[in-house]
């Protein structure tokens, strides 16, 4: 397990560094915060004072060095907008996103396993064709449009569900349902493909040759072998969700990390943006390890390779 962790860490560290570096410099290319935070009539002296106060007058390299030193002490700087510690703002927004992503992935995976297996059981049957068509539709639907149509039907017209907010179970329905559609569509296709090949594998024939019931064949023998590709794709999809479901968060006023990031860019709130990106990157790192662990749990060959 330690080897696995180490290998993951080594392969993740370079992309992570580049992301942090990229965000730091790119964010500063988007414009001068002074334009937003000072009145148009601000004198050059006021601007210089503002820059000095927020450490924006040093050369970029020095700023980056300072930033790294701060981060090493778990100090993420202060938000330009609210003057609160950036770390706090991020930690407040993050659980909202995580919960949303967690529920979405859970439901999408459960649904995809059932539908995908059903479709794969008889390839090209009517069930399979319907499932394939619906899932490929789901995978290519614009989520922002589905969200708006959901609001139109269930909130505006029928009045069953609230249009925004996070309080109460009803408030979760539309955001989760909207977020769910694409991962669900993609996962159904992946599960179906993996199950089709698992079900045509010789060991499935052997199991049938032993007189195993179809339930036993599908769930005992095929599904666990088909889980690996589904797990990999689910991991990638979860990364997308953790990165911020910006559109859905915007539409439903969900106080998550995606919304925070976009707002920070719009407001030139560099400290918050950097903290948000860093925290998400770490979360994704953890998520990848979780996926690796699941792979090892499911497949003894992966365990052996990890131990070697």
């Amino acid at each position: 397990m330690l080897t696995l962790l180490r290998r993951r860490a080594v392969s993740s560290v370079i992309p992570l560094l580049f992301v942090v570096l990229g965000v730091f410099f790119l964010a500063r290319l988007t414009g001068d915060p002074a334009n937003l935070y000072l009145p148009l009539s601000a004198t050059p002296e006021m601007r210089a004072e503002f820059a000095a106060r927020n450490g924006l007058d040093d050369p970029l390299i020095t700023q980056f060095g300072d930033y790294l030193a701060q981060v090493a002490h778990l100090d993420f700087g202060e938000s330009l907008r609210t003057a609160q510690p950036a770390g706090e703002a991020v930690l407040r927004a993050f659980p909202a996103t995580l919960q949303l992503a967690g529920w979405t992935m859970l439901l999408a995976l459960a649904g995809a396993v059932v539908i995908g297996s059903l479709a794969a059981y008889r390839p090209n049957s009517v069930t399979d064709r319907i499932a394939t068509f619906l899932s490929s539709t789901a995978a290519s639907v614009p989520d922002f449009w589905i969200a708006i149509m959901g609001v139109l039907v269930f909130a505006v017209t029928l009045g069953w569900l609230p249009t925004s907010g996070t309080s109460g179970a009803a408030a979760w329905v539309l955001p989760v349902a909207t977020l769910l559609i694409r991962p669900f569509g993609v996962l159904v296709q992946v599960v179906r493909g993996a199950m089709v090949s698992a079900l045509s594998a010789p060991y499935v024939k052997v199991a049938r040759g032993k007189g195993a019931s179809e339930v036993r064949v599908v769930f005992g023998h095929a599904l666990r072998n088909a889980a690996a590709p589904a797990l990999t794709v689910a991991g990638d999809l979860a990364v997308g969700l953790v990165n911020g479901a910006v559109v859905v968060e915007t539409i439903f006023g969900w106080p998550g990390i995606g919304k925070l990031m976009i707002d920070s860019v719009l407001q030139r709130d560099f400290a918050v943006l950097q903290a948000a990106v860093l925290v998400t990157a770490l979360a994704i790192f953890a998520l990848n390890i979780l996926v690796d662990l699941c792979h090892a749990l499911l497949d003894p060959r992966v365990r052996q390779r990890a131990a070697a």
């Binding site: 199991a207 007189g211 072998n225 911020g244």
Partner: protein, 687 residues
């Protein structure tokens, strides 16, 4: 007919087109995409002006009213701008972003990927790292930042989307190119001096391109969705330009009063992306022969069963007797009473090992396969892979089903065991186990017999053992299923079984996984699974092909011991003459889906009654039978889909005459316990 080797040529292209037309879904998708493209080209010309002109006399018109002209059929927004006209104009903008973005990332990504994959080494690893970095960047955030740096416009959208998608093509192209690199022809290309770009252009690009185009079709959806999301968020296409995403955003403001403004552009996006997806998955199905094979499943036909009586060979045979007994095999028809009289007097036949015509179910036969036919469904229609095969086996006897690969012997075995792939289907005949027709049984009754009645040993033990379960659990399964034993008791039986088949330290090894065993040990495990419940019939499908010679012998010995011990009838499927000669009592030689000759193994090999068997044996001296492959006859066997009319062997047969081209020979008795499917079998027997 499943030829997919060349991806060019007008004939191939025409066939693709025909295949496209056959799939109604894909055709519809293609038509939709062409329409969208037309709208995109013509829309801005006709509707560009209407789309932006405000008309304060017609604000917020609901859709489906025709009194204001076609532009207003889908209603208008609060500024009186007609939705239909805006949709058309937006089609142009949307595609003007998506198409260039996809093309850019496709060209850059695939050239880069092929270059990296072709050269390998540091070029490959650096390229992959770059792809990793781009992919691990939160894509929407990247887009937002870049769009702020360059200010949002169609051009910067193209840039952002292209950069974000390059890694996808890079990875795909790299993987395919690296695989090609390892193949022979690339080495050849290198030694002939075509290096670098020339080799990539000539060898790599043509074979990678189909995959990349499929990826591009799917990516088109992604890019369209990304563009509309960004426009929706206000950082993509900017007014007064209009895109579908932007229209949805605008519709959101007026959702309470005018739902149609948000509805129609969203539908336009969905229809376009879904069409692209459908077309992409169709293309993938068509370019992947493995998948295409499965495609024919939807259409089932029962050709053979219905036209059974009208088969030419059957009606034309002069010596056909009317026994009035349905289900008799062709060979059974032909074997005369005299011959069966004779058979009893043949010396040695008293020992029991069937000097008798095949397919003739006698009391002692535990397994009788009678007139069995199997079709495989392909997109071009059913292919008859097994045609009216008959044979029978007694307890304790070994029958070898001998033939070249592709002759249908394995398919026959799977059909008998009830383990055909979904694309294959039994279309005629019977499989009787102790007189009960297995094909007529329900699934549950059939399952009850799988194990104690009939069991099968597979060729490749590694893939036949489930990689994620311990071997102990897999060996215990028959006992759990059929005898309802507890986990513990079943496990104990499994360990006993492992000991019986000669696995050392069985108790601890039961906790190991298949990949931790050697090939020979895995084959032993597989045999153990099959014989766990002492089956009456054991079918062994090339049980030793994957093993080296010493292990082969051990495995065959084990099978022999178990057969004697449990009085099992063994059906040995093999392409190995020597294996059949050494281990079988009787042999059935198969060619192009039919049994061409059958009889006691020593007699058949000593004096073949069929030109095919003769050809097989001619080039192999008797003492070298062992391990000899069946490849000694000039020419190659016909593909299952293109078996010639008349005798299937006639294109390779030295004895072929006129009659062979028109009449298919049936399996006919040629002597004591012997039968051959040749018009001149008797002559060979008597010569």
């Amino acid at each position: 007919m499943l030829d997919t080797s060349e991806a060019g040529g007008p004939a191939v292209r025409r066939r693709w087109f025909a295949l496209l037309l056959r799939d109604r879904f894909a055709t519809a998708a293609a038509v939709v995409l062409i329409l969208v493209a037309l709208c995109a080209v013509l829309g801005p010309v006709y509707a560009g002006d209407l789309a932006t002109r405000q008309n304060l006399r017609a604000p917020g018109r609901p859709p489906f009213g025709l009194d204001h002209g076609w532009a207003f059929v889908l209603g208008s927004d609060s500024l009186g701008r007609p939705v239909a006209a805006r949709l058309l104009a937006a089609a142009g903008t949307t595609l003007a972003v998506a198409v260039p973005a996809v093309l850019c990332s496709l060209v850059i990504g695939s050239v880069w990927g092929m270059w990296a994959g072709y050269h390998g080494g540091w070029r490959e690893s650096v390229s992959l790292r770059v792809a990793d970095v781009i992919l691990s960047f939160p894509s929407l955030l990247l887009a937002v930042v870049v769009l702020y740096v360059f200010s949002p416009s169609a051009a910067s959208l193209v840039l952002v989307l292209a950069v974000a998608r390059i890694p996808v093509y890079l990875r795909t192209a790299r993987a395919e190119a690296a695989e090609l690199r390892s193949r022979l022809f690339m080495d050849a290309a290198r030694t002939f001096g075509t290096g670098g770009w020339a080799a990539i252009r000539r060898h790599v690009a043509p074979s990678v391109l189909p995959t990349l185009l499929t990826v591009a079709a799917l990516d088109f959806c992604f890019v369209m969705l990304a563009e509309s999301s960004l426009s929706f968020l206000g950082i993509g296409i900017q007014p007064p330009d209009v895109s579908w995403g932007l229209m949805v955003a605008q519709g959101r403001q007026e959702l309470q009063s005018a739902w149609w403004i948000a509805l129609f552009p969203g539908l336009a996006i969905v229809v376009t992306t879904v069409s692209a997806t459908v077309l992409a998955s169709w293309a993938r199905l068509t370019t992947d022969p493995g998948q295409r094979w499965r495609e024919g499943l939807g259409r089932r036909s029962r050709g053979l069963r219905s036209d059974r009586g009208s088969r030419g060979d059957r009606g034309s045979r002069g010596d056909r007797r009317s026994r009035g007994d349905r289900g008799r095999s062709a060979a059974g028809d032909a074997a005369t009473e005299e011959e069966r009289e004779e058979e009893r007097s043949v010396p040695g036949s008293a020992a029991g090992s069937g000097a008798r015509p095949p397919g003739e179910g006698t009391e002692a036969d535990v397994l009788v396969v009678d007139d069995l036919s199997v079709d495989v469904h392909t997109p071009t229609g059913p292919v008859h892979v097994v045609r009216r095969v008959s044979f029978a086996v007694r307890s304790g006897e070994t029958l070898a089903l001998l033939g070249e690969s592709g002759c249908g012997k394995s398919m026959t075995a799977h059909a008998v065991a009830g383990l055909l792939d979904p694309v294959a289907e039994v279309v005629g005949g019977q499989v009787r186990l102790d007189g009960v027709d297995l094909l007529g049984l329900g699934a549950r009754a059939r399952r009850r017999l799988a194990g104690p009645g009939l069991a099968m040993v597979f060729q490749d033990a590694l893939s036949a053992l489930n990689p994620v379960h311990t071997v102990g659990a897999q060996l215990a399964e028959p006992f759990r299923i059929h005898e309802g034993l507890s986990r513990r008791a079943a496990r104990a039986r499994a360990v006993e079984l492992m000991e019986r088949v000669g696995i050392p330290e069985a108790r601890s090894r039961a906790e190991a996984y298949p990949h931790q065993f050697s090939g020979g040990m895995r084959q032993r495990l597989l045999i153990a699974t099959a014989v766990a419940l002492q089956p009456k019939v054991l079918i062994a499908d090339e049980p030793t092909t994957a093993l080296d010679v010493t292990v082969q012998a051990q495995i065959m010995d084990l099978l022999g011991e178990l057969r004697a011990e449990q009085r099992t009838a063994l059906v040995l499927i093999t392409h190995d003459l020597g294996l059949a000669a050494e281990h079988a009592d009787r042999v059935a030689v198969m060619y192009a889906g039919t049994v061409v000759e059958t009889g006691p193994v020593a007699e058949v090999f000593g004096r073949p009654h069929h030109p095919y068997t003769r050809g097989l044996l001619a080039s192999v001296p008797a003492e070298q039978h062992r391990g000899a492959r069946l490849t000694s006859i000039p020419g190659s066997p016909p593909e299952p889909g293109s078996v010639p009319a008349g005798c299937a062997f006639r294109t390779r047969c030295p004895m072929a005459r006129e009659r062979c081209a028109t009449h298919r020979p049936a399996l006919t008795g040629t002597g004591a316990g012997r039968a051959a499917a040749c018009h001149f079998g008797k002559e060979l027997a008597d010569a």
